[in-house]
Symmetry: C2
Amino acid sequence: MTLLKNPVFQQLRKSGALSAEEEKRLLELEEKPRRVDACETLWHENDRVDAFCVLKQGWAYSFRTLDSGAKQILKLYLPGDIIGMRDFGFSRRLAGVEMIDEGVVCPFSHQQFFEVVDYSATLASGIVAIAVRQQAMLTERLVYVGRHTAQQRLAHFLYELYLRLSRIDAVKDNTFSLPLSQEQMGDALGLSSVHVSRTFTMLRDEGLVLRDRQRVQLPDPAALACMAEFSDAYLDESIPSPFLDLHVIRSRAQLRHA
Amino acid sequence: MTLLKNPVFQQLRKSGALSAEEEKRLLELEEKPRRVDACETLWHENDRVDAFCVLKQGWAYSFRTLDSGAKQILKLYLPGDIIGMRDFGFSRRLAGVEMIDEGVVCPFSHQQFFEVVDYSATLASGIVAIAVRQQAMLTERLVYVGRHTAQQRLAHFLYELYLRLSRIDAVKDNTFSLPLSQEQMGDALGLSSVHVSRTFTMLRDEGLVLRDRQRVQLPDPAALACMAEFSDAYLDESIPSPFLDLHVIRSRAQLRHA
DNA sequence: AAAACTCTATAACTTATGTTATGAATTTTT
DNA sequence: AAAAATTCATAACATAAGTTATAGAGTTTT
C-alpha cells in the first residue's frame, strides 16, 4: 500500500491533476521503510512530535491512557493510512501509537511534509483530505459511543471495519481477520470486556455476527449496518470537483506570480 | 476576532514567518462578513460542500441527527474558529451547523482556500494546524464520553469552555455566559437532560460550579479540572519549532525551482 | 506433556444513568 | 397583564452496563 494508491490520490491522478513530478514527490515520503514488531510502540503520549508515518503493512492503533489506568483506543490504522497527522502543529504527541501485529511503516519528518506542501498545493490538499477522512471516523465514533447501545456500538465498529477492509481486499466470503482482544474492543467502544463478550453472544444469537477467535464473519452485512444505524457518508471516497480543478487554479496563480 | 489573531498565526507572525503579503492573503478570507441570527442554520447535514467560514462573532455548534431524532452535538465554535474544515475533501456535509446566538460569519470558498494554500505553505500549514486543534477537542470528548462519569464529563466540558473563553477574554471573576440549555449540554455529552440537571446539582453541592441561568461561575477552577482528570495538552497553543522555520524551507525550495 | 498464561463465556449482583411524571420558575407570545 | 411555552429541579422507577467471580478453551512457555 502506498499513499498514491489511496482513493483520494487515485481520483486526482485519473483526472489528470497530478504531474509526474508530483507523483514522485509523494512517493518520496515513503522512502524509509522500517519493519516493526507486533505490539511495538511507535511513540508514547507526550513524546516530542518529530515524524509522521505512512503505514504500509500491518495494523496499528492510537490510544490515550487515563489516570485510572484505563485505555481509550482512538483510532485503528490499516495499511495505506497516515499515522500521526492528529499531532500536526502540536509540540507533543496527544496519543500513543502501538502496532497490533507486525508490519512496515515509513516515517517522514515535519520538514519533508512542509517541502511537499510547499511544492504542490494539490499534494497538500490531498494529504489534508486523507487526514480529514481519518478524523471523520473518530467523529462518527463519538456519535455512537454517545448515543447508541452496546449492540449498536459493536455492530457499527465491526461493519466499519468490514467496509474499510473490503477496500483493501482483506475480506473474503464476508469473513475477515480481527486481531483485537475483546478487552481492546471495549477500550475502543467505551465498554467493559465482559459486556463486549455478552454483546458478541447477543449478536451471534441474532445471526448477525459469527466469530471464531480472530475470524469474524458477517452473514448479512446489510442487516448489521441497519441495526447499527450505519450511515456511510463519512466513508465516502469521492472527492468534490473543485479539487480536481486544483491544477488549473495553480497554473493561474503561477501566471500571476510571473 | 480575525484568523490573524488566532494564537497559531500570532506565533508565526512574532517569529517573522509571515510576510506582509501573506497577512494580506489571510485577511482576504474574511472579506465577506455576513450577519446571522440566533438559531440560524448555516448548513444542513448532507448539503453540498461549497464554503468554509470564519466565525467572527457569536457561538455556533455542529451536530448530527440520529434516526431516533436524538441529536449529538459535535463541536462548539467560538469567535475566531474556522467552521467546516471537517468537511474538507468531502462532497457532502457530514454534520449540520447552527448558530446559538446571533453573530457574524465570513464564508470563503473551496477555491479561495486552494489559492491561499497554493500561495503559501506557511498559511496552509497554519490553517491545517488550527483545524487539527479543533479536532483535538473532539477527540478529547470521545475519551471522556467513553470513559468518564457524568460528573466528570460535565466538569470537563465546563472547564474546557472556561479555558477557551479565557483566551478570548470572555471570562470575568471566574464567571462566563453559557447560552446552552441543559438539553443541549446533554446532547453534547451523551447524557439525558434530566441527568445533566442532577449533575449540576451535585457539582453545586460540592461547591465546584455555581450557576444562575446562563451565568456560570467556577469558584475553584483547579479543583474542577482535577476532578475531571483534565489534561490540557490538547489545548496547548504553542506550535513546534519546525513550523517557525517554514519560510526558510520555502526560500530554499524557491532557490531550487529557479 | 505439563504448567502457566491469556482470552472468553456466563452468572450473580451492583450501580449509574435513562425514562416518565409533576410542579415551580423563567421566558416568550398574545 | 395574561396565557402559553420553555426550562429546570426533583422524585420514583426501570434498565443497560459495570464489577467481581469462576471455569473452560486456547495459547505460549518450560
